[in-house]
Amino acid sequence: MSKFKSSKTKGTPAISTSSLPDIIFMLLFFFMVTTQMRETSLRVKVKLPLATEIQKLEKKSLVSYIYIGPPTNVAIYGTESRIQLNDQYARVADVPEFVASEREARNEADRNLLTTSLKVHKDTKMGIVTDVKQELRKAGAFKINYSTLKGVNK
């Protein structure tokens, strides 16, 4: 009689894995929906400063980005802060053209809602930022956003 007993396994039975594909699919769809590809590759280092009184940028499609910071390739471009528009380095004088082309790419109704987000490395000197701001004023892009991270300064 005991030969039937020995085939019985002891301990807890294995967890059912039949719902695993469902869980994986759920995760897959979650990441598929939330993901957004980066359009530009950064050529400048941008370590954002911290601030507490921040607002979220509402419409991503109505935001154009200006990156300012030290170049990633220090050996070729040095350490002096540079401006990056779209995918390449630019001079201050190129900013109005950039604003115009960004405006051109939007609907006519949305053009004056365009916000310029300044992503500036925290150790950048204000001189270059002021220059860019002056150019933005001249170009008529008055809505700006100093991009920061949420956090408390020590």
């Binding site: 400063p49 601030a51 009184e53 204000m126 001189g127 008055f142 700006i144 991009s147 920061t148």
Partner: protein, 178 residues
């Protein structure tokens, strides 16, 4: 099937960026045609904040500290009644939903050097924003009983009208280099 799902899952896991863009929103003034024409503002209505290239502050001619800046600005911008010559003038304003209220005519004038670090500039802007937000919150608390961010849109609009954020940035001057 599960392999493909896993592959896709890992791909999206790697490529996803969860950052939300946030920051301090400001409106730049339109360019001035004639920089010579000054708009006269009474001296008592202006709080001058200067930031030099060593990231030191000068608040109304006295050395200032970033830690106390918020209190100074808040004190300055809170309407003082009756009229106090050490503080900006107050005006009576009629704001919808709030009725007649006293509003300060004060202006914050911010000027920075070309050598000021961006980090410091953001710190100062942040402290200014904090001061204004606290004044707004106090007004909202006394009038509606809640903080500003919990108000309806039109009530918040009224609070924003009652406490205008008047931060003026001086026209940049080129003194020296970088």
């Amino acid at each position: 099937m599960a392999d493909i799902a896993f592959l896709l899952l890992i791909f999206f896991l790697v490529t996803t960026t969860m950052d939300v863009d946030s920051g301090i929103t400001r409106r730049l003034p339109p360019p001035v045609e004639q920089p010579d024409v000054d708009i006269k503002v009474k001296e008592r209505n202006v709080l001058n904040i200067l930031v030099n290239k060593n990231n030191r502050l000068l608040v109304n001619g006295e050395p200032g500290d970033i830690k106390t800046l918020k209190e100074v600005v808040k004190d300055f911008m809170t309407p003082h009644f009756p009229d106090d010559p050490n503080f900006p003038e107050v005006e009576e304003k009629n704001v919808p939903l709030l009725g007649n209220i006293y509003a300060s005519k004060g202006v914050i004038s911010l000027k920075n050097d070309r050598g000021t670090s961006y980090d410091m500039y953001i710190k100062v802007q942040n402290e200014l924003a904090r001061a204004f937000n606290e004044i707004k919150d106090e007004l909202a608390q006394s009038k509606f009983g809640t903080k500003t961010d919990k108000l309806s849109d039109e009530k918040r609009e009224a609070i924003n009208e009652a406490v205008p954020v008047r931060v003026s940035e001086a026209e940049p001057e080129n003194i020296g280099d970088r």
